[in-house]
């Protein structure tokens, strides 16, 4: 069973992930892939406490790439969450054969343009998206299971390779 969804969300584990996606997909494990958080035991514990119904594993990009294949055949389902497209690209370029990412929450920051209500991108994000699309990785925009996923290229044709 294993990988159920790979989510790009700058809030990492939060309400939408735990309640909406957690209730819909019932993951046994949630992988947070983030070099910065992985280096902080306190922040790791905070994320672990945020999802009491799943086992939370906080890994670096290199660690996640190393376990990607093994997790594919593990019993129970798994969600993967990372904070930005740069990390998503780094994970794929490190060897993880991720078929798709769901852009679930990339909030406004100066220099970023609105793509959807909850997704803002700048040129660096678009470059990372383009690199992922060139590798055949599907990119969709969807915040919660109750909404319809939309292709990123439909919402922002400039990311087309």
């Amino acid at each position: 069973m294993s990988w159920l969804n790979q989510r790009v969300d700058d809030r990492l584990i939060h309400g939408q992930v735990v309640v909406a996606w957690g209730s819909a997909l019932r993951p046994a494990r949630i992988y947070v892939v983030d070099d910065q958080v992985a280096a902080s035991p306190w922040e790791r514990d905070l994320l672990v406490s945020a999802a009491p119904d799943a086992e939370v594993r906080v890994l670096t990009v290199a660690e996640a790439a190393a376990v990607w294949e093994a997790e594919r055949s593990a019993p129970g389902g798994a969600l993967l969450v990372l904070r930005d497209l740069r990390t998503a690209r780094a994970l794929v370029e490190s060897g993880a054969a991720v078929p798709a990412f769901t852009l679930g929450g990339l909030h406004y920051a100066p220099g970023k343009a609105k793509i959807a209500e909850y997704v803002y991108l700048d040129d660096a994000d678009r470059e990372d998206a383009r690199a992922l699309l060139q590798r055949g990785v599907k990119l969709e925009v969807q915040d919660v299971p109750a909404t319809r996923p939309q292709g990123l290229m439909v919402l922002d044709p400039t990311v087309a390779p």
């Binding site: 700058d10 809030r11 939060h14 309400g15 945020a50 999802a51 909030h107």
Partner: protein, 131 residues
């Protein structure tokens, strides 16, 4: 005793609405701010909370709505290293009213425990008695 300040950090405009509701029952309220998590990334929400509590030289309470949510986690991240700033999660109207009535009566840790108990105990299931 010194008045303990509070910051409501919630999803959407729940904090603003809770405060409006509390004011209808309690009257005008000072020293309580609200902040919505809308539009904020994890890092930006943490920074926004830290900015608002930075003037709390004698501590205070960050009141959040949902255990495990971004408001609670970012409240904890922003309060890290300050033992006098506590995060209370699962805040509702009875809890907020109890805070308003008691924020000058208790030290911060005792007040936080009190609010948690009041908010939790106010959730009830009741059946109307048959005639």
């Amino acid at each position: 005793m010194r008045r303990i300040p509070a910051l409501l950090v919630t999803h959407a405009d729940l904090g603003a609405a809770l405060l409006r509701a509390a004011q209808q029952i309690y009257g005008p309220v000072g020293d309580v701010e609200f902040l919505s998590n809308s539009e904020f990334s994890r890092t930006d929400l943490e920074n926004a909370i830290r900015e608002r509590v930075s003037g709390w030289t004698h501590g205070g309470l960050v009141l959040t709505d949902f255990p495990g949510g971004s408001c609670q986690q970012c409240g904890l991240l922003a309060a890290r290293g300050n033992a006098e700033i506590l995060v209370v999660t699962g805040m509702n109207l009875p809890g907020l009213l109890d805070y308003l009535h008691n924020r000058e009566q208790y030290p911060v840790a005792e007040l936080a425990e009190r609010l948690m108990t009041r908010a939790r105990d106010s959730v009830r299931v009741q059946h109307a008695r048959p005639e």
